[in-house]
Symmetry: C3
Subunit: 148 residues, 3 copies
């Protein structure tokens, strides 16, 4: 049950990067809620004269929220799958390639979403990230199946 330190470091780097990227979406939402005067709760309204309160009110705010939610649905699974994958004795080059593809795909996904890039850019980025996650999960399940 030992993990190569270069392998661990590569995962830690991409896990840290992707988590910060997801957290940044929350800050971005706050900024647009202020810009579009769309606070999430009525006690926030006093901070700035509000036009509308709550979710599902402003397409620009909602677009960032959807990109954020998609990160939650895809990046959080990666944080666990990537860590457990380290214990399946993967080749260093394969693991690095998978982690880099995942990070690149999720950054493209967000840029395509918030800039409303025509499909299939966002769809392809989504499926690239999903493909990496599914491969990691398959590797873990098959490697540890005997211990179920």
């Amino acid at each position: 049950m030992n993990v190569d330190s270069e392998l661990f470091g590569c995962f830690a780097f991409h896990a840290g990067l992707m988590t910060i990227k997801t957290l940044a979406m929350a800050g971005w939402t706050v900024r647009w809620r202020m810009k579009k005067r769309n606070p999430i709760s009525r006690e926030d309204a006093a901070l700035r004269k509000a036009d509308k309160i709550g979710n599902n009110q402003d397409e620009d705010v909602e677009r960032i929220r959807r990109a954020h939610q998609n990160d939650i649905e895809n990046i959080f699974p990666f944080l666990s799958l990537g860590l457990l994958y380290l214990f399946t004795n993967p080749a260093l080059g394969t693991a690095k390639m998978l982690f880099r593809i995942f990070s690149a795909a999720r950054i493209v996904h967000t840029l395509a979403y918030v800039n409303e890039v025509p499909q299939p850019t966002r769809g392809l980025a989504f499926f690239a990230g999903m493909g990496v996650n599914m491969y990691l999960g398959y590797s873990i399940i098959s490697h540890f199946a005997a211990s179920w």
Copy 2:
């Protein structure tokens, strides 16, 4: 701080299975959004003539989304709690039983949700998974309380 490899393997198997199960909900949502012509964003609409755009528009799509959200709220905590629980010196048999109950409960939860099985099936599955999570969390907090 050593973890038995059979214990780790059992957790890794169930963590991988539950994560893939959660990720599959996203693919399922995409499929139903296409079937029901209910894309999430306006730039998606061109891919297929859309009847309605966005969330909260179609009960079948929303039902899968609610099951997905419930996985996020319950399975993601399990991924951390289960890993930390391995370091509390649990009995192998107890740990395996808890992980298997959790996986079974969450699969029943989703099947009950998407097939609209009458209550209390979904409620019982929810509380079974929640009970496992709460037990894992209690074990961790009490085991490591001195290091707070």
Copy 3:
């Protein structure tokens, strides 16, 4: 790649506490859905005569759901960042302080949210937790940058 057991124990304690705190929001939502007769799905309604069904119907239920969602967006990232941070050779005192600030900030955040405490209480608690997460993430990315 060794982690001090006191350092690990401190992280495990706060990770367990924050995860249980997040899970408790789900139980809290269930309780208020019953009290306000606002079940989430139509098959739940038979359990209790319902006034309204689904999300975005009752401000008290929605307020707890928003606090829960904010935990998902901030506490789940902490569970990964805190674990990886342990491998960056942090000083024990610094790490303990960061974990304690995070736990305290997130508890204040929830109390401020559900009790509708006037701003900036909730905002400050949010940014304190976000600040800890960002620092953990920065430490991880810079420590492991060479292994990208």
